[in-house]
Amino acid sequence: MELKETIGYRVIREWMETQRRQPFAFQEETWQHILDGESGLVNAPTGCGKTFSVFLGVLIDFINRHPDDYQTRDKNTLQLLWVSPLRALAKDIGRAMEEVIVGLGMRWQVGSRNGDTEMSERQKQKRRMPEVLIITPESLHLLLAQKGYAEVFAPLKVIAVDEWHELLGSKRGVQVELALSRIMGVKKGGCSIIGISATIGNLEQAKEVLIVGRAPKTEGRGRSDGGQADAADSGGTTAGAPTREASATEGFIVRAMLDKPIHVESILPDEIEKYPWAGHLGLKLIHKVIPILEKSRTTLIFINTRGMSETWYQSLLNVSPDLAGVIALHHGSIDMALRNWVEEALHDGKLKAVVCTASLDLGVDFRPVERVIQVGSPKGVARFLQRAGRSGHQPGQVSTIYFLPTHSLELVEAAALKAAMHEGLIESREPMLLCYDVLIQYLGTLAISDGFYPEDIFRELQHTYCYSEMTRDEWREILHFITEGGSALQQYDEFRKVEVMADGLYKINSRRVAMRHRMHIGTIVSDAMLKVRFTSGGYVGMIEEYFISRLEPGDVFTLAGRNLEFVMIKDMTALVRKSTAKKARVPSWNGGRMPLSANLGMMLRRKLDEASEMVAPSPRALAPEGGGAGADRSRAQESPVETDIELRVLRPLFELQAALSYMPRENELLIEQIETKDGWHLFVYPFEGRLVHEAMAALLAYRISRTTPISFSFAMNDYGFELLSDQPIPVDDTNVYELFSPEDLTADIQRSVNSAEMARRKFRDIAVIGGLIFQGFPGEHTKARHLQSSASLLFNVFSEYDPHNLLIRQAYNEVMDQQMEERRLRNMLERIRQGKIVLRWPSKLTPFCFPLKVDSMREDLSSEKLEDRVRRMQAQLR
């Protein structure tokens, strides 16, 4: 059907004209795909009409099907399922949709469903499903936990997955995959799946993950279609079914192509010599922030951690008290109602500035925002672009983002970001594979509603991206785990979870197990958090138990921008009262610290190369005899580039680094060895991000220890890592290339001593998602206590008594794929092999190593016989 010839299109065009709006080309393109019943991906940034690109298409389709009575028809059942990662988005999107519906005089309803949805509202939805349902991945799974869910999805025409780039690469994305596989499995008739994504490096793959094997009207739709599906299972297209075959290349990608110019400006310290090398929050530059706030309508200040954002908020008020009342704080631990208020106020342009964390990365566009300030490294190009895109929403406006470094060297990142944006180097989001924990949870979910037949589900799983490579053996193991609880003592076992009924249906019959399962649906695992309330009542927010446990009554801390005096802990709630104390402790949240992306790391090395060029007095004189580096250097000289302002400002720092140690070129790896009163330090600077450095440190320590018994602790940041030992570290020109060799990498990583500890950390989330950790029912203290155990204890027990358990294996696989980022590690070692390693023995700490030295996150590892080590440690204690 040609879009522009349809009545629906005419109706929508006319309505848009009354709004003085014109459809964008990418919207019309998407509408056409919706009319054609196709699945695919819309690549559009926030605030460019991406919602309408799908929603209006669904309306056009509906009007075309009911040209005479589209306005009067009601109770049309579910037409559009809108999956969105953030509950906060639901409100705004719903509002926008309702405006259209009212404008067209239609009788559609828009509902939303998430953790905040009232029970009464859910009941109402059960009786009458709205035409549009806006839902989070978790609530979508809760829908699958309801009896008769297949009927809800039967009339569905379009499933839109908003902000797919955010979901992809996380276990929530896997949840979406699973839900889609089930919906398409039980559904009769076609349904389009449309992802909406910002620009990422792997758009094609993003589309594939979402729609592969699930595009409409293909074979293998499971038994629910009737008996013939089995025949089609071998792969061909069933006769009679439309001949649209699912394949990796299927599905459309519509690109909005609405590039907005982005202007990046660094906030530079006046005297770089006095700017801190590490351990600061950028507050020294706060006086340069005030004028920026003053000259723009609304400014968003992005801070990397919640703790830092609290400090920044307080400091802004201290420096400029008249900001009181017009600045706000927004982060994930602040009470939802307060956050909603902040978002509303932002929307209405009532706020001059908001100090925020990644909590405002997603979601509604706040039109009044004119400027964005990024404090500290954004860690990746995509994130930086997204934040920059938060400003200047009006057409024709330039998005302006200021970069405020928290330590000197971070300024190089600004230069690197600019270059990366210029070259369009956007990071990819790697989809997750074989997440057994999410699968186990999902099977439980299906088992509490209508139950499931393993063959149906296995077939659906083979069509998902995440589980397409799961073997029959692994599948059997999972079924065994949820029905028998793994290996047990036969007659003395009372394991009870999923039961196999006489007809082969897998079902959870225990109401308690079902109830507990419902409470645990989801894949976002937070640290043990306590609610914070005033003694007089009134909720403030959430805080980590770890932080509170170290406070004494009377101590003052800040949360949600308020100074609070800790009174006591009662019923998992920290009671506080307001405090007027000047000094307060800032809580630490162990939120995930993002590592530097590979793209940004590469750019960083390139920029440092330019810096090295800049400070080298006479490159040829320093060049090693006939080495590859010399040749590179002359090439660099032939094509002089205009040096970034950031690099020019940092010149004194680079000169100091060069004088104390060395400024590495792009193809060089610098290693510094320094002795201090703490012991012997070895600093290495690959600029590959914290996670890769963590793995590299473990690997290096292991390789060193093969020749010498030695113990290390280590620290890492995004630029490099440090090994620290109480004895000299034997690394010099004779063995250094061997130590950094990519040979035997996989085997050495697997033997590197830290794997168990890394897996233990990964296991925490896995155990919660997989249903091994029980958090207890409200008001059921004693009984619940007997079911409590820590993930760490479970990890010990499983490792020792059931080491091949799927979930333990998954923990190690996650370490390998995400933590170690094996591929990236390998690339790094290849790069080092082709380059040159430069060893230096500086007499004191250098600008490069200083940030590492103060980084507190440390890991232990040892290759010594334990008793020897304990004895030696003892000797030192005395």
């Binding site: 308690r512 008594y801 696989n813 003892q874």
Partner: protein, 274 residues
């Protein structure tokens, strides 16, 4: 069986076993704490698939301790059982019936919530709070004890003590431990499905860490002692995969269990910390 470590308190001879209990020679009594029997069953009943072999090996370990020390009684300072009655406790009953001459005296812990009749039927003599025997007294939670001048020496549990040792270069390790203060001792938890709580002992006390055979529980650095469980599907089923790890491994036990480097009861050695 690993050799026990001698220690004297008030003229009495004690033997500390790396299997997390101690033997009182004069009274031929095995003193244990926090066994938490039935805990895996309790979890499994609720649909949490904890491997039940933990419990089986706890029972087997206790059996071999009884064979080794030949005690005339077990003195359990609380939390012999984890929660309510379940089938795992039936297994305990069968196990118990194999030792009709062995007395079991239980000082009730906060987890021991079974009916009086159950203990009686199982041949367990129960003491409500404190049991006194000569120079010694036994209590579950030492914090519930009101000090008096002519007090006996107390043995307690409840805490699941662990000792963290720090060294240069910010190194640290944690092990289950025995704690001996001037007035009382705290025993390590016997059950393997229990965690440890780090203690901060005063300088005049004695602390004995229980070191695992080669790394293992309590290691911050989990020194690769069990190697890397086979990855993905490549070598599923190979049980002997345990890599050499970074550890210069040396077996302490003589018997090698079927799981390669870990003996059936995987004990290590006692190491006096202070």
């Amino acid at each position: 069986m690993q050799p026990a470590f001698p220690h004297r308190i008030r003229g009495q001879q004690l033997w500390l076993s790396p299997h997390r209990c101690l033997f009182w020679e004069e009274e031929r009594s095995l003193i244990l704490s926090d066994l938490h029997f039935g805990k895996t069953g309790h979890f499994r009943k609720a649909g949490i698939a904890v491997p039940q072999s933990v419990y089986r090996e706890d029972l087997l370990r206790l059996l071999s301790l009884i064979q080794y020390f030949q005690p005339r009684q077990l003195l359990v300072v609380g939390d012999l059982f984890h929660s309510r009655e379940n089938k795992e406790l039936d297994l305990f009953r069968r196990w118990r019936d194999d030792f009709p001459d062995l007395a079991i005296r239980l000082i009730l812990g906060n987890h021991d919530i079974l009916h009086e009749g159950w203990y009686e039927a199982a041949g367990i003599t129960v003491s409500q709070q404190v049991l006194r025997m000569g120079e010694f007294a036994f209590i579950h939670d030492i914090t519930e004890w009101a000090p008096s001048p002519e007090a006996p020496y107390f043995f307690s549990g409840h805490l699941h003590p662990g000792i963290r040792i720090r060294g240069m270069g910010k190194q640290s390790l944690q092990f289950p431990c025995f704690y001996f203060g001037g007035q009382y001792a705290v025993l390590p938890a016997f059950g393997k499905f229990t965690g440890t709580v780090s203690i901060d002992p005063p300088p005049d006390s004695n602390v004995f860490a229980i070191l695992p055979p080669s790394g293992g529980e309590g290691f911050r650095s989990g020194a690769g002692e069990r190697g890397w469980p086979v990855r993905g599907r490549q070598h599923a089923g190979s049980d002997q995969q345990a890599g050499p790890g970074g550890v210069n491994r040396e077996e302490h036990g003589t018997s090698h269990g079927k799981r390669g480097n870990r003996g059936p009861f995987g004990a290590g050695s006692i190491f006096q910390i202070q």
